[in-house]
Symmetry: C2
Subunit: 460 residues, 2 copies
């Protein structure tokens, strides 16, 4: 059957409203936030139901046509970028909140709902959702599941995997796995849903998600802390955790280069009179805001006496806390200002993050004189982000990657903490996993997708 005949059958099966030919596909579906060159897919399907997804995958399976699942297209590794001979499947129309139950702490949603809608729905029900990240307004829950998203809440609530109680997934042959039982404990055979979390759409399409919500904190205190060096930042984190335990809800570190970029791009005024090597944004949850602020102040004063803290602002209102957190929003602007940005998302042994950042900066400066790179991250869980200005390194993306990933290997880190492998990190997957591990991954891939039609060319 020709491609043309396949397209005709696709449209007649799903309807012209759901399925479009490549030439009619809006450009916004051609690429994602990773900066990958746009590709016009063979067709775009925007299903309205699990049945639509199942019918699509059955048809593609019969005709050996590949499928690229798409969420909010905010990924930074290129996992959702279309292929010319593949059908792109956007979940954006499957965006219903199907159930919210504050009593049981559960929310069931379709995969195409945005993270922000999930967060707001949880708050309206008197709970909170455990994952938060900059792309919240655009990224979709199905994409968060497929990439095992991280973000600002991992320290307290874990990764996306830890928020998922159930999944509905459509396999490559169109069969539906209804793994949506609302049980915290359910040891009946393999925990199949785990296989699809973080699989980047290579094993099936996530169509529904049963999420765990967390109790809303009665109060949150926020502080922005200036520190002289990375060891001080770790010391302050330990002080906070030993005082507040698991109530330390966020500990986001920003190197000065990042803070300066953020102020310039987002037109923010300087938080402190002086510039400091490192700033940390810290949220602590608790019962009483005034008491939290006073306890936080106490810890900060001790840290200041120990020379770990140079200056600090404790937010006195929700509005002030939001203003402080604006400083952390620069990553959404990276591609507008960094020509384009070469982005990294690495995991490192926590104690080594400071030395790693210094080593990167030294390596970049030695090769490309001048300032090029921003450093920021979720230091509480060992995750550092690095963004390099593509122009100032003469667009030598491969050389920048080789420098940085060489250092990741030397520091025994991981090349992807939370963004995934997608297209962009495939060469480094082979450096991060043993041949035996890769063989096991491939065996599982073939078991669930024997024709290799699900997001081919991604991850592997």
């Amino acid at each position: 059957m020709s491609r043309e005949q396949f397209l005709e059958q696709l449209i007649s099966t799903l309807g012209a409203d759901v399925a479009q030919r490549g030439a009619e596909v809006p450009q916004r579906f051609w690429t994602d936030w990773s900066g990958t060159p746009p590709v016009q897919p063979l067709a775009l399907v925007r299903p309205r139901s699990t049945e639509d997804v199942s019918a699509l995958l059955r048809l593609c399976s019969q005709h050996r046509v590949a499928v690229v699942p798409q969420g909010g297209l905010t990924g930074l590794a290129g996992a959702a970028v279309p292929a010319q001979d593949a059908v792109a499947v956007s979940l954006e129309r499957m965006n219903a909140i199907e159930e919210v139950n504050a009593q049981t702490g559960l929310m069931q949603v379709q995969a195409g709902v945005t993270l922000q809608t999930v967060q707001e729905t949880a708050v309206n029900a008197g709970m909170v959702f455990g994952v938060d990240l900059g792309a919240r307004g655009s990224c979709q829950i199905g994409g968060n599941v497929s990439t095992n998203a991280g973000g600002n809440g991992v320290l307290q609530h874990g990764m996306m995997r830890d928020q998922v109680l159930g999944l509905e997934v459509v396999l490559a042959d169109g069969s539906v796995l209804p793994m949506l039982r609302p049980m915290i404990k359910n040891n009946t055979g393999y925990d199949l849903k785990q296989f699809f979390i973080g699989a980047e759409g290579t094993l099936g399409i996530v169509t529904r998600v049963l999420l765990r919500l967390r109790p809303a904190p009665q109060a949150t205190a926020t502080t922005l802390v200036a520190m002289p060096d990375f060891d001080s930042a770790l010391a302050v984190l330990k002080r906070m955790q030993s005082r507040f335990g698991n109530s330390v809800a966020a500990y986001e570190l920003m190197w000065d280069s990042f803070v300066q970029a953020s102020m310039s791009w987002l037109k923010l005024s300087a938080p402190f009179a002086e510039r400091h090597p490192l700033l940390a944004l810290i949220n602590i949850d608790g019962k009483d805001e005034a008491q939290l602020q006073s306890e936080m102040q106490e810890v900060l004063e001790q840290a200041m006496e120990a020379g770990e803290v140079l200056d600090a602002i404790v937010a006195q209102s929700v509005a002030q806390a939001q203003t402080l957190w604006k400083l952390r929003e620069a990553p959404a602007e990276l591609n507008n200002h960094m020509h384009p940005a070469i982005n990294f998302d690495v995991s490192l042994p926590q104690a080594d993050i400071g030395r790693f950042a210094e080593a990167c900066e030294a390596a970049f400066t030695a090769r490309w004189p001048g300032k090029h790179s921003l450093y920021f991250g979720h230091v509480g869980d060992g995750n550092l982000h690095v963004s390099v200005d593509g122009k100032t390194v003469n667009g030598e993306c491969d050389a920048v990657e080789a420098e940085l990933y060489g250092l990741v290997a030397a520091f025994k880190g991981s090349v992807s903490a939370e963004h995934g492998i997608g297209l962009h990190k495939k060469p480094y997957l082979y450096a991060s996993r043993t041949p035996q591990e890769l063989a096991a991954m491939r065996a599982i891939k073939l078991a669930l997708d024997p024709l290799s039609l699900m997001n081919p060319g991604k991850v592997f």
Copy 2:
């Protein structure tokens, strides 16, 4: 090659110290705590290293001989019971603690170390380990991983899955997967280790485990609370959680039948002057014991005024807390007193647990006049245990199971919350999962164990 030739090769490859013929295998390896009739295996192998395990599996793979992995043999579903034509592999000699690091909160161990040793090692390092269960002195970490163990700490720290940061696993063909990277965040391809957690030894043998430790609470307060009915128990749980959040470390509910059995078997004196329908053991973690006790007292007084609490004891010392917790230790004695016990481990929607227990008792009494069953469980996470006296139901185990699992289905629960499927719950796996889910599980099983040599006949 004959069985005899295989045995000779096995012994010559691994040494007579590591491999023994069936006739020489001590009876303690013939069955587990599930009450399954003992089976003498073809041979017993007690490896001293991952290399031993790998050599064994290569040999078994070459000769198409099945393998049954064994931990502490405390399982209640029969997953570690040998088969006549299979080699039993006990991990008991691989019991080293390889690394403990309080700074990073990590502990690396060999799979055969007991849970209790892990717990004590964590405490000695100033941390705690998140999983606790009655068999702690005998059960092994590898078995805890393979069954995704639950227990008393799930409310606060999650299941075993949530404590595992890395695994080393030997696959059926002898290849070793070294998934021990000490990274909280590591999205590089499929999170392979997830596939082996809860797989009950059907996908490979766990040889090493990298565990996350939790910060030790500075203080813990314990109370034993008497309540008139299940709805009151839920109301008290909500009161405690809304006051203490995630610091509610345990909430173990015991119906009076269980409490009476516990007092009689363990020769304990009655905690209260009167008998009450339900008792809850509650642990709350915090910073200051006296303050915790006074806050706990305050919550209990409010609950008493609301009629939810009939009586309560707040432990005034660690020794008194330990005495109160003795009441919960009866399950280790079940098989000595219940001729034998028919044990259940079900998950239910939390709000329905009380009605479910009543419905079970009514169904049992209607069919077998008299009292037969004990009810207890980790109510905070929806998990109820039921034990039925085998003698008083005339040993009609199948009929008891049919009654109870019928009710589980009617209440939309799960037939195994934490014990797993093993041998005993296989008929009910098929009622708990759809044919599509079972097909996906089988595909994964075949992908990783194409000759079906790993713990055959278990789970599926």
